[in-house]
C-alpha cells in the first residue's frame, strides 16, 4: 500500500510526527519528498493510535509542515547484499557514494539483525597473528572476538588498526577468504582518507567494504552506520565463508549521536546524559561478532573509541569494556616517549586468549610467559612509584632490577615499528630473554619445568 500523504503535524530535532496513519508497522521505512524534489529517508520509531513518530536520517533542516509528501514503504530498513559489497564505499545509511551506481542485490538484510543463539555459537579458539608483540603475546586476538582499542585523541590507534589489518591478512592461511568491513562514525575526513590510502597501499582495497559517516554528516545516519556495516559483515562471513575483520571508529562519536537523538526524543537520561539503554544498544552491535557452528566464516570486531579526557571510567569505554571480550588500552605517556604501539599493558586484556593459546595454537610456553610478564611489569609500576618518592638509589636490589627490566621491556618488546611483523616465536623468545634479566626467584608465576626450559641469563646479555 504505497499511499502518499501530504504534510506533517510536528517537527522536533530529527523527529517528525504524522497524524491519521493506519496500517503502519513499527520500524517501517518512510520516504519524505520535499518541495524541491529531494528525497529523504526515515523510519518509524513510535506509534500511538493514528500518530506515527518518524526519525529522519538526513536531518529535518528545510522541512516544512505542509510542503512534505511522505510514503511508507512497508518494510523495515534493509541493506542490499551481494559479494560485490567488497571494494565499494557507502554512506552511513548504506547507499553507494563512490559513483559506481547501485548494487545488484542478491538479497536484502534487516540492518538490526537478530540475536545469535548461544547454542549455535562456536566458542572462538583460533588466534589471529597480528605480528604485534604486545598484542600477540599479552592480549591475543582470537578469530570471532570483539576486542576494542581504547585510545585518546591524538594517539596512534588508527596506525595500529591498519597494521593489524595488513599483517593479519598476510598471516591468513591459503584458501581462506579474507575481508574487511570498515565503519567510520563521525570521524574527520582525513581519518577516513588515511584508512582508504592505507588499504590501497597494502593492496587490500579489493577486500574492503567501507561505510563512511563523516563528522559533518547527519547524526541519525551515524546511528545506522555500524548496523549496516555489521549486516554486511554477517552476510559475507556466514553466507560467503569469509573471515571478516570489522573496524569501527569512533564508537564515542556513535554514542554521542545516540545521546543527541535520545535527548531530542525527551527520554530520561542515565549517566552523563547518555540514554539508559546505552548498554543494550552497544551490546546489539558488539554481540554481532562470533563464529557459528557449521559455518566457515567469522566476524571479528576491532572497535576503536577515544576516551574523553583519557578517562577509562567514562560511560562509553566503561560499558564497552563490560560487553567486549577484553580491551587494548593505549597510554599517553608511552606515546610521548615515542613508543609505538603505546599499549598500556596492565589494563589491557583479552578474555578469550586463555583458550586460544598454548600448544596447538601458538606455543606451549605462551601462557607462562604472558602471566609472568604481566606480574613482573606490575612490580615495575610499584618500583617506579617508590623510586619517585625515595629516589632510585634507595631502592632495594630487586626493585632496581625491576626498574631496569621495565625500561628494557618498553624499549624492546612494546616498541615495534609500524612495518615490523614479528612471528609469535620471535615474540615469545624476546619475552623470555627479557624475563631472564630478572633473578630466577623473582619469576614466581612460572612452573619450575617451564622456567628450566626457557630461563637463560645468557640470552639476556644482548640487552647489556
Amino acid at each position: 500500500m504505497k499511499v502518499e500523504r501530504l504534510g506533517l503535524q510536528e517537527i522536533n530535532g530529527p523527529l517528525v510526527a504524522l497524524d491519521g496513519v493506519s496500517g503502519v508497522s513499527n520500524e517501517e521505512v518512510v520516504e519524505l519528498s520535499l518541495a524541491d524534489g529531494s528525497v529523504r529517508t526515515g523510519r518509524v520509531i513510535a506509534l500511538d493510535g493514528a500518530r506515527a513518530v518518524v526519525q529522519v536520517f538526513e536531518g529535518t533542516a528545510g522541512l516544512s509542515l505542509n510542503g512534505v509528501r511522505t510514503r511508507f514503504l512497508g518494510h523495515p530498513l534493509q541493506l542490499p547484499l551481494s559479494p560485490e559489497l567488497l571494494g565499494r564505499v557507502f554512506n552511513g545509511a548504506g547507499r553507494p557514494v563512490d559513483g559506481l551506481g547501485g548494487l545488484y542485490a542478491e538479497k536484502y538484510g534487516d540492518i538490526n539483525g537478530s540475536p545469535m543463539n548461544p547454542v549455535a555459537r562456536e566458542y572462538p579458539r583460533n588466534y589471529i597473528a597480528t605480528g604485534v608483540s604486545s598484542i600477540d603475546c599479552l592480549v591475543t586476538l582470537i578469530r570471532g572476538q570483539k576486542l576494542p582499542i581504547f585510545s585518546g585523541s591524538g594517539m596512534s590507534h588508527n596506525q595500529l588498526a591498519v597494521q593489524i589489518v595488513r599483517q593479519a591478512q598476510t598471516a591468513a592461511q591459503a584458501g581462506e577468504k579474507f575481508g574487511v568491513v570498515f565503519a567510520a562514525m563521525g570521524v574527520k575526513n582525513d581519518v577516513a582518507d588515511y584508512f582508504r590510502r592505507s588499504f590501497d597501499e597494502a593492496g587490500v582495497m579489493g577486500h574492503v567494504c567501507m561505510f563512511l559517516n563523516l563528522s559533518n554528516d547527519p547524526i541519525i545516519e551515524r546511528i545506522l552506520t555500524p548496523k549496516c556495516a555489521l549486516t554486511a559483515a554477517e552476510y559475507l562471513a556466514f553466507e560467503h565463508d569469509m573471515h571478516v575483520l570489522v573496524i569501527m571508529t569512533d564508537v564515542t562519536a556513535y554514542c554521542e549521536a545516540l545521546r543527541e537523538f535520545s535527548s531530542s526524543k525527551g527520554e530520561i537520561p542515565g549517566r552523563k546524559g547518555y540514554p539508559g539503554y546505552l548498554y543494550s544498544d552497544l551490546a546489539s552491535l558488539y554481540e554481532r561478532a562470533g563464529l557459528l557452528k557449521g559455518k566457515k566464516g567469522s566476524v571479528t570486531q576491532i572497535p576503536i573509541l577515544t576516551m574523553p579526557n583519557d578517562d577509562i571510567t567514562h560511560p562509553v569505554p566503561d560499558l564497552t569494556g563490560y560487553i567486549t571480550e577484553g580491551q587494548i588500552v593505549l597510554d599517553r605517556n608511552l606515546d610521548h616517549l615515542g613508543i609505538y604501539p603505546p599499549v598500556s599493558v596492565l589494563p589491557s586484556l583479552s578474555r578469550l586468549m586463555k583458550d586460544g593459546i598454548g600448544a596447538g595454537y601458538t606455543r606451549d610456553d605462551h601462557s607462562a610467559a604472558s602471566a609472568q610478564l604481566f606480574a613482573s611489569y606490575a612490580k615495575v609500576q610499584d618500583a617506579r612509584a617508590l623510586a619517585s618518592v625515595i629516589g632510585e638509589e634507595e631502592l632495594a636490589p630487586s626493585d632496581r632490577l625491576h626498574l631496569r627490566f621495565g625500561g628494557l621491556f618498553e624499549r624492546y618488546f612494546l616498541n615495534q615499528g609500524f612495518t615490523e611483523n614479528r612471528t609469535i616465536g620471535e615474540t615469545l623468545d624476546l619475552a623470555w630473554a627479557l624475563l631472564s634479566t630478572l633473578p630466577r626467584e623473582e619469576l614466581d608465576r612460572v612452573e619450575p619445568e617451564v622456567l628450566a626450559a626457557h630461563y637463560d641469563p645468557e640470552k639476556a646479555k644482548r640487552f647489556q
Binding site: 493506519s22 496500517g23 503502519v24 508497522s25 513499527n26 520500524e27 513510535a46 506509534l47 500511538d48 534487516d110 538490526n112 539483525g113 537478530s114 540475536p115 545469535m116 543463539n117 548461544p118 547454542v119 549455535a120 566458542y123 570471532g144 556466514f238 527520554e267 530520561i268 542515565g270 549517566r271 540514554p275 539508559g276 543494550s280 551490546a283 554481540e287 562470533g290 557459528l292 559455518k295 571510567t313 560511560p315 566503561d318 560499558l319 569494556g321 563490560y322 560487553i323 577484553g326 580491551q327 596492565l346 589494563p347 578474555r351 586463555k354 601462557s367 604481566f374 606480574a375 606490575a378 617508590l386 618518592v389 625515595i390 634507595e394 631502592l395 626467584e441 614466581d444 608465576r445 612452573e447
Partner: protein
C-alpha cells in the same frame, strides 16, 4: 467481548486502550506473530504490556490476546542439562527449528513433551498426601533423581496411583480426592508463576558452608548454604571467572547459571566446558547438575528482566525436592538496567542515576528468595544466591552495588589492581567480608579442625599487618624496616602468592579441599614462626630468605597433589631442620664473636 487491539507502540512497550480483559502480570500474546508479553500496568484508559521480543514490524490494530494466567515456569523432569532463554524457551530446540539466529514469535514448549521417563511410584491408593509430598521419582540425569511432588496447596487421599513404568511429562500418575470430594489429577508437571516464591514450612538457621574449593573464599570469606553473596567488580576483574569456578567446583547438588545480559560467547563456553568437565566426586559431566538460563545482552531486554525470576523458580523447585541449589546470577546490574530501561519507557519518575525508585525493593525481594529451608514435606534444602554486580566505572558507590550490599551477607569485592597484576581470584581480602564466619564456626571446628579458626585469624593478622607496613614502604622503601617487619612482609607475600592466588587452569590448584587448605596455612605459619625465632636471635633476614624455603612454599600449591597430603610432613620436617641448622650456626657465630 470486543477484540483487544494494539493502541500504541514504543520500543518493547505496547499499550491497549479501553479494555478490562487483562489482569496485572498476566501473560499475553501480542500481534499476529503472537509475541510474548506481560501486563505491567493498567488503568481505566489503557493497559501497558512489556513485550519479551523485538517489536519491529508490529502494527497498531493488531490483536492482543490474554492467556488467563501470569508468566509461569514449567517444572518437570528434563530441566537439567538444558539451556533456556529468559522466559524458559529451550535455545537448543530453537536452534534446531530456526537456525543460528533467534527469530520472533516462536511457539516452543519449555520441555520435551514426548520424552518418556522411567517413573517409580512411592504411594498407594489410600495414602493421604499434602502439598509438597513426594509421590514418585524418576532418574533425570545420572546424578540427580527427580522427585515428583504434589503441588503446593493440593492435598487429599490417593484414589488412583499409576503403576511403575514409562510416562511422558503429561502422563496421568496420580489422582487425589480432597476433603471436599474434588478430584485432582496429577502428572509430573507443575506450573508456577515465576514472580511468586514457592512456599516452604520454615526457614532453618544457617550452619554449613558452601564449599567452593577456592582458598580465598572457603578460608577467608566463606559463604553458607542458603546464603547470599555479591561479587562486584569493574570489567576485567574476573567476575565471570569467579562464578564459573564456583559453579564448577562448589558442593551444591544443582547449579542454576543465569547469564543475564552478558556475552553470548561466555554462555557457549559454559555449555562447552560443563559438558566436557567431569565432576571428580560423581564421575559425571558437570552439565548433569546444571541448568543454564541465557539471555545475552543483545536478546530482548524485557526477557532479561524475567530471566532472574525464571532461574529462581527453577532453583526453588529443586530445593523443594531436598536438594542444595546454588544460583549464579551474572550480572544483576544488567537486570537492574533492564528495570531502568523499561521504567524509562513507562515514563516513571526516576530516582538515583535514572534507576526506578523501586530498585532497592526489587533487589531485596530477589535475595530474600535464598535460604536454608524446611520444605513442605519436612525435607531440607537450600538456595544459595551468588550475584555478580558490574558497577559503572568500577565505582562501588553506585546505586546497584550500594543497594545490593544492604541485602547480602557476603561481599567479595574484586580489585582492579590485583587483576592488573593477574592475581586471580582478584578478591580483595581487606574490603571483602562475610557475616557467616560466626555461624559457620561450629561446622569448621567439627568437620575441619578446632585449629582452623585460630589459624585463619593468625593469617588474617599477618595480612592486616602487611597492609599497614606497606603504607610505610610506599613512603620510605622496605630497606629501613627492622628485620621482624621485613619478615611480616615476606610471610604475607607467601600468603598472597602461595595461598590466596589460585590458578584456575592448573589441574590440582583449580579445586583445593578444605584439609589441604588448612595444611597449607599451617605450613606457612610454621615457617613464619620458625623464621621469627631466627630473626629474634639476630640471624639476618637475608640468610633466612636465602634458604629458599619461602619460594618453595609459594610453589607448594603446584607441588603437592590434592590426594597426597602426606607431602606436607616432608615440608614441615624440612622447615624445622633447616631452621634448626641456621639457629645452631647462628649460636656458634655468636659464641665466636
Amino acid at each position: 467481548m470486543a477484540q483487544n487491539v494494539i493502541g500504541a507502540i514504543n520500543g518493547p512497550v505496547v499499550k491497549v486502550r479501553r479494555t478490562a480483559d487483562f489482569s496485572m502480570m498476566e501473560m499475553v500474546h501480542v500481534g499476529e506473530k503472537r509475541l510474548l508479553g506481560e501486563v505491567i500496568a493498567m488503568n481505566s484508559e489503557e493497559t501497558t504490556i512489556q513485550v519479551y521480543e523485538n517489536t519491529t514490524g508490529l502494527r497498531v490494530g493488531e490483536p492482543v490476546e490474554p492467556t488467563g494466567g501470569p508468566m509461569c515456569a514449567t517444572l518437570a523432569p528434563g530441566i537439567l542439562t538444558g539451556i533456556y532463554d529468559g522466559i524458559q524457551r529451550p535455545l537448543d530446540v530453537i536452534a534446531a527449528q530456526s537456525g543460528a539466529f533467534i527469530p520472533t514469535g516462536l511457539d516452543v514448549s519449555a520441555l520435551d513433551t514426548r520424552k518418556k521417563w522411567r517413573v517409580t511410584l512411592r504411594v498407594k491408593a489410600g495414602d493421604r498426601l499434602a502439598g509438597g509430598a513426594v509421590f514418585a521419582a524418576c532418574p533425570e540425569t545420572p546424578l540427580i533423581e527427580h522427585r515428583i511432588m504434589v503441588p503446593p496447596g493440593v492435598s487429599g487421599e490417593v484414589v488412583f496411583a499409576a503403576p511403575d513404568g514409562e510416562y511422558t511429562m503429561d502422563g496421568h500418575l496420580l489422582t487425589l480426592r480432597d476433603g471436599d470430594g474434588r478430584e485432582h489429577v496429577l502428572t509430573m508437571t507443575q506450573r508456577w508463576p515465576i514472580r511468586t516464591p514457592r512456599p516452604c514450612r520454615a526457614r532453618l538457621p544457617i550452619d554449613r558452608p558452601l564449599l567452593t574449593g577456592q582458598r580465598v573464599i572457603d578460608t577467608l570469606i566463606p559463604i553458607a548454604k542458603g546464603g547470599t553473596a555479591a561479587v562486584p567488580g569493574g570489567f576485567g576483574t574476573g567476575k565471570t571467572m569467579t562464578q564459573h569456578q564456583i559453579a564448577k567446583w562448589c558442593d551444591a547438588d544443582i547449579i542454576v547459571y543465569i547469564g543475564c545480559g552478558e556475552r553470548g560467547n561466555e554462555m557457549t563456553q559454559v555449555l562447552d566446558e560443563f559438558g566436557a568437565l567431569i565432576d571428580p566426586k560423581s564421575g559425571q559431566p558437570l552439565s548433569a547438575r546444571t541448568v543454564l538460563i541465557a539471555n545475552t545482552s543483545n536478546m530482548p531486554v524485557a526477557a532479561r528482566e524475567a530471566s532472574i525470576y525464571t532461574g529462581l523458580t527453577l532453583a526453588e523447585y529443586y530445593r523443594d525436592m531436598g536438594y542444595h541449589v546454588a544460583i549464579m546470577a551474572d550480572s544483576t546490574s544488567r537486570w537492574a538496567e533492564a528495570l531502568r530501561e523499561i521504567s524509562g519507557r513507562l515514563e516513571e519518575m526516576p530516582a538515583e542515576e535514572g534507576f526506578p525508585a523501586y530498585l532497592p525493593s526489587r533487589i531485596s525481594q530477589f535475595y530474600e528468595r535464598a535460604g536454608y529451608m524446611e520444605n513442605l514435606d519436612g525435607s531440607e534444602g537450600s538456595v544459595t544466591i551468588i550475584g555478580a554486580v558490574s558497577p559503572q566505572g568500577a565505582d562501588f558507590s553506585e546505586p546497584v552495588t550500594q543497594n545490593t550490599k544492604r541485602f547480602v551477607r557476603c561481599f567479595w569485592a574484586l580489585d582492579k589492581s590485583l587483576a592488573y597484576a593477574r592475581h586471580y581470584p582478584a578478591i580483595n581480602w581487606s574490603t571483602s567480608y562475610s557475616e557467616y564466619v560466626v555461624e559457620l564456626a561450629g561446622w569448621y571446628e567439627k568437620n575441619v579442625s578446632p585449629d582452623f579458626l585460630p589459624v585463619r585469624q593468625r593469617m588474617n593478622n599477618i595480612l592486616q599487618e602487611e597492609d599497614k607496613l606497606m603504607e610505610i614502604v610506599k613512603l620510605i622503601g622496605a630497606d629501613v624496616l627492622p628485620d621482624e617487619q621485613k619478615l611480616v612482609i615476606e610471610a604475607a607475600k607467601v600468603i598472597r602468592v602461595g595461598f590466596l592466588q589460585q590458578n584456575a587452569f592448573h589441574k590440582d590448584d583449580t579445586y583445593v579441599p578444605m584439609e589441604k587448605q588448612l595444611r597449607m596455612m599451617q605450613v606457612i605459619l610454621l615457617l613464619y614462626d620458625e623464621a621469627l625465632r631466627l630473626v629474634q636471635q639476630s640471624v639476618p633476614i637475608a640468610t633466612v630468605l636465602g634458604t629458599g624455603l619461602f619460594d618453595k612454599l609459594i610453589k607448594m600449591k603446584y607441588d603437592i597433589p590434592n590426594d597426597d597430603l602426606s607431602k606436607f610432613d616432608g615440608y614441615e620436617a624440612e622447615i624445622r631442620q633447616t631452621c634448626a641448622e641456621l639457629r645452631a650456626r647462628g649460636a656458634e657465630g655468636g659464641e665466636a664473636r
